[in-house]
Amino acid sequence: MSAVLEVRDLHITYASSSGLVPAVRGVDLEIAPGETLGLAGESGCGKSTLAMALLRLVPPSTQITGSIKLAGQDILTMKPGQLRAARWAQASVVFQGAQHVLNPVRRIGRQIDEAIEAHGSASVSRAGELLDLVGLGARRGDDYPHELSGGQKQRSLIAMALACDPLLLIADEPTTALDVMVQAQILQLLDNIKRERGLSMLFITHDLSVLSHTADRVAVMYAGRIIEVGAGDALLRNSLHPYSKALTASFPIIGDPSSRHQPRGLAGDPPDPNNLPSGCPFHPRCTVAIDECQSVDVQLRHAADDEERSVACVLVGKS
């Protein structure tokens, strides 16, 4: 079966008042049917930009090059009408911060049905059914967003995302603003739905611990690039790129004596996309950097000992 999503050499550059911001700088991705890809990285590394670009939802002035094939069709070359048809039907999004993502003056049910109507089908409301599915109860369709709690809003967003039976679910930090317990509820819900419907999912987060049981594969992003990608568990347990290492280390394993009274993290600041360092963008913060790192901008390449694993690091290639 061919990939649900196939992204090739994607570059996304924002035109902002302070100049061009290269937010995504050459990303390749694919997601197989039924697969969940976890995308992790620090704030500002371009995760949301990438997600938004998948449905061409970035501001009109943004330059996008490369290709994004969703179910075989290139999103970037579609006409407006085609694009509208592809949105939500091929791929839908569960956004972060349901607070602002729902229109405060429209009923939840309307907002769900609206998506279905936009795609021509269904004169009968399916909102109730979908809300039931996510455990909210059909009656909540008559509520306005402010009448729901954070977790409930997130559930209704999931219901909305399922409205047109998409192939791919893009979840952009769907649990970040939520409390631990609610977060666990939502993750469980997403997991069930994905499994029941055989959905593919792109799961974006900055919290690696969330990915440990959600993602089949994990990609780690840094400064607009993917710097490591591989099978979920393996990557989290044994990351190869120094950045991924630092990232995984900063989530302590409780009970693990090596991290007791030993908080670990990464020195230095995240890079400024306007002013990226030369060579490997991570080298100023890298504890194991060698001279070469300042000049060589390594591309993603297969790691020697794990064929599913690709890493963009000079050292990893060498070892």
Binding site: R56, P60, P80, G81, L83, R84
Partner: protein, 567 residues
């Protein structure tokens, strides 16, 4: 258009810039009120438009007793009020008696010293306590007894006079406050029938809007044309419009607080000195103000007009008394001891600056003279502190005599007595709650004596001489700097109406006069069919259609646009 209404009724529409304040003859006092009363209330006798000489009206004839104190009037027998109630000597007697009892403002100057009895329906006997030159004209409006006797003295000031009972050539049929008043012919009117069936006075906020309505043909005549525009009419720029600059004695003055010893107030010490007042009179360039403020429609004056009839004016030309002579003003001020000792451009004396509180009337004829006057005064070293007030606030200040200078103006009646009475000592305000008409806060025993004499002088020649003498005292002592007599600028559609009667002859206006007889003599120009309202309606409909079209197109184009999408 109102030139002719659809039913072929002949309408005469007049534009006015003043709204009626009250139709109640015991309360109202605006010129427009008088105009309506002239048209709806009868008088015992009438006055010739040309020279104000006496004419019969309700009374057909009158005779006087030897001593001139008793007058017997013979009234017409065919008179009826518009509601059909007979109009008799009883109405007249009632009006005179009641007006004295209740102290009706518009009546008592004439009736105050009279007692009247109706010996029968057609005979009226009037007895005066003193010889009275205002008889036999007896110039007051007669009210319908059957209406007024139902209203108590207490209620009367609030009575709106909306009974519409008329004893004049017209009767009121409709009134919209601030908009218009509509009158139609009174079928029971005993005098000459007017040519028009209805008479409309429409109120405009600005003289200009009103003039434009005349030009557009919505009006037949207007009172109060802006001076600049009037000049173009007089220059013949408007073939269908004729302008009449009529003068009936209205004048504007700068009042000075002369601080009469029997009065109250806090007038500036300098103004107690007649020489300072004279100096102020000399400092004014009256001709410039006539040219600039009145656009030449008026003439400089130094004395008041005692009457609408110029025969009662001070018969001395302006340049023989006060002309524009700043040097003379300066000399007088120097002489009076007001000298600019500290070099600040303002004269002073004993540490008191010659700086005068100047109260400026916010509306009315004198409005635009203030910038001129203050300039002239500055030129002779008199500073002013100008505050602008509306008439009523100004009247309150005047009642307290707490001013130095202020601007005001008057329009006299036909008989000079009323105007002259304002300057006697008894008219000086002594209680702010009551006030008084002597707004120069001025008194002069000689003037008082002469006033008393003319008040009872029956010989017109002698009386005229006494009045001249009063003028002389008043002008010489100068509580007023009279500025000018201004013309009433009126215009009418000469393509529609003709035979306008001026009052007084040659110099006077045609409307808003002492008797308003002009309306009775007006004649339509034959063949006139009025202005065209039809075209306007077509324009409206056209515009509505265009607007609808625009909206439709907008909506359409919006629909189309929204079909396209943002990429």
């Amino acid at each position: 258009s109102t030139g002719a209404s659809a039913e072929g009724e002949l309408t005469f529409a007049v534009g006015v810039t003043q709204d009626i304040d009250s139709l109640n003859v015991t309360v109202g006092f605006l010129v427009i009120d008088y105009e309506i009363w002239n048209l709806t209330l009868p008088t015992l006798t009438s006055k010739a438009a040309a020279d104000f000489s006496i004419l019969p009206s309700m009374a057909e004839s009158w005779t006087s007793s030897e001593d001139g104190l008793t007058w017997t009037y013979k009234l017409r027998s065919d008179m009826k009020w518009s509601d059909g109630v007979p109009m008799t000597a009883d109405d007249v007697a009632y009006t005179i008696t009641r007006s004295v009892q209740d102290g009706w403002w518009n009546h008592t100057t004439v009736t105050g010293n009279l007692t009247a009895t109706a010996t029968d329906a057609q005979t009226l006997v009037v007895v005066s306590s003193v010889p009275d030159p205002k008889l036999p004209i007896l110039d007051v409006y007669i009210v319908p007894k059957h209406i007024y006797e139902k209203i108590s003295a207490e209620e009367l000031p609030n009575y709106l006079a909306d009974d519409n009972v008329s004893g004049g050539p017209f009767q009121i049929v409709e009134r919209k406050e601030g908009e218009f008043i509509r009158l139609v012919q009174n079928p029971n009117w005993f005098g000459k029938k007017p040519a028009m069936d209805q008479l409309i006075f429409r109120t405009f906020e600005t003289a200009e809007a009103q003039y434009n309505a005349l030009k557009a043909g919505d009006l037949d005549a207007v009172d109060d044309v802006p001076g600049k525009i009037f000049a173009t009419i007089m220059a013949g720029d408007e073939p269908n419009i004729t302008g009449i600059a009529g003068n009936q004695g209205s004048f504007s003055e700068l009042a000075m607080n002369s601080s009469c010893p029997t009065g109250i107030g806090d007038g500036h010490v300098a103004l107690k000195d007649p020489n300072v007042r004279r100096a102020i009179n000399w400092s004014l360039d009256r001709q410039l103000m006539v040219d600039k403020v009145l656009n030449g429609f008026g003439k400089p004056a130094v004395g008041i007009s005692a009457s609408a009839n110029p025969a009662f004016d001070y018969q001395v030309e302006a340049d023989q008394t006060y002309s524009y002579d700043p040097a003379k003003a300066n000399a007088l001020l120097d002489e009076a001891g007001w000298i600019d000792t500290n070099g600040d451009g303002v004269r002073d004396k004993d540490g008191v600056e010659l700086k005068l509180r100047y109260f400026d009337r916010s509306v009315g004829g004198a409005a635009d003279t203030t910038p001129f006057i203050t300039g002239f005064l500055k030129d002779v070293g008199i500073a002013t502190d100008v505050k602008t007030f509306d008439e009523d606030s100004l009247a309150a200040i005047q009642s307290k005599s707490e001013f130095d200078l202020y601007t005001w103006g008057w329009s006299p009646y036909a008989d000079p007595d009323n105007m002259l009475s304002d300057f006697i000592t008894a008219a000086v305000p002594t209680d702010p709650a009551v006030g008084g008409y002597n707004d120069g806060n001025w008194c002069n025993a000689e003037y008082d004596a002469l006033y008393a004499q003319q008040h009872v002088e029956l010989d017109p020649v002698k009386r005229a001489a006494q009045i001249q003498e009063m003028h002389k005292i008043f002008v010489n002592d100068g509580p007023y700097a009279v500025l000018y007599k201004y013309d009433n600028l009126q215009a009418f559609r000469s393509d529609r109406w003709q035979n306008f009667e001026r009052q007084p002859a040659e110099v006077g206006p045609i409307m808003f006069t002492q008797t308003s007889s002009a309306y009775l003599n007006l004649e339509p120009v034959s063949g006139d069919s009025g202005g065209g309202g039809g075209t306007n309606t077509i324009v409206v409909i056209g515009i509505a259609l265009v607007a609808a079209g625009v909206v439709f197109t907008l909506v359409r184009s919006r629909r189309k646009k929204s079909a396209d999408d943002r990429a």
